[in-house]
Symmetry: D2
């Protein structure tokens, strides 16, 4: 059972308060999302904060998994490993692109590259795992 | 050059908007901080979200490092690896305890255990590295 | 069902060819093992290689888990994250000390600190997860 | 200053005892290497061991970095994070493909996908960082 990008958007709008995240695309074991950066995402000096980028990576993984297994609210992050590589561009939204590397019965794993929107260089890279509740297989 | 818990609190109050984080203690290559949980830290189902716990771990590391090297705003996270181990207790603040494992000239590394306040079991565990700007050695 | 250090030693001697690993202690959600360093563990310059330390961390986790769940050959590493912190002392065995942070039905997670034997400073630190085959719960 | 695949092969043949590793290609911020699997790489049950795959990932990163910065023996791993995704095919060499995501003055970071040779699915995935000695910039 899969879910379309539109179905995921409706679920997220109803159940999540992450008004700063926009789903750009989802499907084919991949996803692309945008974090709309405002002052609350910045650390002193005006750089996008690490937690903002980790939240984006986590969300991109979640969306990529929902697109494959359907709307499963209880899929839970079990690990997220992030490397911060470059200073993000100032005043620039963050785009996260996720590719799933494994979609098993109980565990999914993927990698996420994060960019300052419109810039070619990876600003951070994450790998993460989600546990999938057994009843949802 | 070190900084006291009180000096770090003043710096954070002036420069950071992380009104949800409280510094409990800092020093001796360690720190303890609290995230005051409100609705915006929860995901559907009422569980404290992963990004909330990653932000707490990142902040605990930052505070432990500032206590050793002084107020260095430009210390930056270079990696954060988090394992989510148990569902946090509902309606319960998160406490993060950090121990530094290395404090080098240009890189600091530590581990962080996260708890639901008042509960004995680790709900998440993180390891992270910070780069320290060379002029601050 | 648990296993004693002696039972684990017998199992390892029979089924594993890791003649370079010695079990020092196991039990109470912890373990301590030694890697006896020879030329094949060194990289150019005489430093103990990274893979040698990762193998030690993986083995310490495995032993700590076997001590809790009994002799389960098919427990498998699902992740291992290692930070290399200091140059190990030359001509010195490596000791790995593991503490389990979670022992669930299907997943165990622990952290490992690695030392040059007889030296106080952590030379590397790892966190890892193992999957436990369901029939062995 | 860069190094060709042939120059790296000569350096490795002279200074490294990793007779089980073959350099397939290196350059363009990438590398491809093979681990020739023999009995000593297997764990009970005949599966390629985790440490064998971590050593392959570490080596692929090292080779990709040497191809960019020249023969720098003292480039050192500072972190390696590995996720084990599928059981490798039995009696099958392991191929590791590395792409660098950052090549800075003092730190390089890359990701590595590991395959059973001739099989399309990723069996393990790693991300790692190396420190580059400052005199070699």
């Amino acid at each position: 059972m899969t879910a379309t990008a539109e179905q995921i958007r409706e679920f997220l709008a109803a159940d999540f308060s992450q008004a700063d995240m926009e789903l750009i695309s989802a499907g084919n074991q991949a996803s692309k999302i945008r974090t709309v950066i405002t002052d609350r995402h910045l650390r002193p000096g005006g750089t996008v904060s690490g937690p903002t980028m980790m939240a984006a990576a986590d969300f991109a993984l979640y969306v990529a998994i929902l697109a494959e297994i359907g709307i499963v609210p209880l899929a839970l992050t079990t690990s997220l490993n992030t490397n911060f590589l470059r200073r993000p561009a100032p005043n620039c939204n963050i785009v996260a692109e996720c590719k799933l590397l494994k979609l098993g019965r109980t565990l999914a794993m993927g990698e996420v590259s994060l960019y300052s929107e419109g810039h070619p260089e990876v600003v951070a890279h994450a790998t993460g795992t989600y546990s999938i509740p057994p009843e949802q297989k």
